[in-house]
């Protein structure tokens, strides 16, 4: 106690039953009963706390608050789920859109054309290479078509030429003259298909020179 009166914190503790020692509690109560000033303060504190307790009885005037809150919780949940599934949905939409566009020919056609271009370019450059090989072996080219390159080469050079043509499909026959207009019987031609490089270079059996004394040339067709 400070001076003759009870300090406020002791009164506050007394109200909260925070003064455990019975002797101290009894002594404080005794003082309150005998001291009008402390009794007044103690009554005022009690009244203050009573009014506070009354406030705790006030109910929330919005009776539909739980229902409203549950509605908000449900919609927040839905939003959250939607946001979670957004990347998957976006990916699915992209795939569907991509497939649709591809099927409609809006995308991907260019790629197909490119492939076609590439194959014709490849075929074209291969024909050029064939022509180059033929020229290198002193052969005469008589015809270049979409399907083949036709030419005539001296019999002595053919084996070497054939070796350089590698795995390409080649049809050939022995002729007497180099003249391309002289009738060639392509129905009797020998046709070789696709020997691999190693075999054609080293293991091919050369055309024997003795197919008749008149046969000096080989008429050939190198197919694309």
């Amino acid at each position: 106690m400070s001076g003759d009166h009870i300090p406020f914190h002791k009164m506050s503790d007394l109200c909260d039953n925070e003064i455990r020692a019975c002797e101290e509690r009894d002594s404080l109560m005794e003082h309150i009963q005998s001291c009008p000033e402390c009794a007044l303060e103690f009554r005022r504190l009690g009244k203050t706390l009573d009014l506070c307790r009354e406030l705790s009885c006030i109910s929330c005037p919005e009776h539909d608050l739980p229902a409203r809150t549950m509605r908000s919780i449900r919609s927040a949940r839905k939003k959250k789920l939607l946001l979670k599934s957004m990347p998957a949905m976006a990916a699915s939409l992209l795939i569907i859109a991509g497939v649709s566009l591809f099927n409609a020919g809006i995308i991907g056609v260019h790629d197909r054309a490119t492939v076609a271009d590439d194959s014709s370019r490849k075929s074209f450059s291969d024909s050029e290479r064939v022509i180059e090989i033929i020229r290198d072996h002193s052969a005469a080219i008589s015809q270049v078509t979409d399907e083949y390159v036709e030419g005539t080469v001296p019999l002595s050079s053919f084996n070497n030429l054939r070796k350089h043509l590698g795995s390409r499909r080649v049809a050939y026959l022995l002729v007497e003259e180099s003249d391309p207009d002289s009738g060639a019987q392509w129905g009797n031609a020998i046709e070789e298909v696709g020997l691999d490089d190693g075999q054609s270079a080293g293991n091919r059996e050369p055309i024997p020179g003795g197919h008749g004394a008149a046969a000096q040339y080989v008429r050939f067709r190198v197919f694309r």
């Binding site: 909260d16 009354e54 705790s56 006030i58 005037p61 608050l65 739980p66 549950m70 919780i73």
Partner: protein, 192 residues
């Protein structure tokens, strides 16, 4: 663990198992206390309703992180107190507290349990409570916060220390000072 606490835990288990609707039991149980606390801190009726709702939504969202080391009510009140604290911090520069004791436009009608037979007595009590609310609203933040938790919500010193994350002795000091402050104000208003 008291009955009330174990009831809370049962509801929480249901909610966590996927029964979201069970959460309405928690809302029903805590709505009045939450509403009163928020209103005392915010002093705006519509804002109070929004914040009360927001606190429940936040609690629901955070339910999985409730570690059950304390009572659910303590954990819930921590969310409530922190929400209001942040709200007040954000809005402090715009708050104008009226010095007049006249009833503001935003004040809602007190809904006391209808126990008083004498209507005159009810009017006097309502007026007294209006003054108390007003005076609590004008207390310094620290005192108001602690009086709301102790003398209106009825929480123990230990629970308050846990919610506010302060020492027990600090809780006691603030409670005593807050009460003294309020008692003096109510005396000055002639209410007690």
């Amino acid at each position: 663990m008291s009955n009330s606490d174990s009831e809370d835990i049962q509801v929480i288990d249901k909610v966590l198992a996927g029964d979201i609707e069970a959460f309405s039991v928690i809302i029903d149980k805590y709505r009045d206390k939450t509403f009163n606390y928020v209103y005392s801190q915010v002093k705006d009726y519509d804002e109070t309703l929004d914040i009360t709702q927001e606190i429940f939504i936040m609690t629901m969202e955070a339910l999985a992180s409730f570690r059950r080391e304390s009572k659910f009510s303590t954990w819930f009140y921590s969310i409530m107190v922190n929400y209001c604290k942040n709200y007040r911090k954000k809005n402090s520069r715009y708050n104008v507290i009226s010095i007049n004791s006249s009833r503001g436009d935003d004040e809602y009608d007190l809904q006391l349990p209808d126990e008083r037979e004498n209507p005159e007595e009810e009017v006097i009590m309502n007026e007294s409570l209006r003054i108390v609310k007003e005076e609590i609203g004008m207390l310094p933040d620290d005192y108001r916060e602690i009086l709301l938790l102790r003398d209106i919500q009825g929480l123990s010193y230990n629970e308050i220390a846990e919610i506010l994350d302060i020492s027990l002795s600090n809780v006691k000091v603030r409670i005593h000072r807050g009460r003294e402050f309020l008692k003096n104000r109510l005396t000055a208003r002639g209410l007690i």
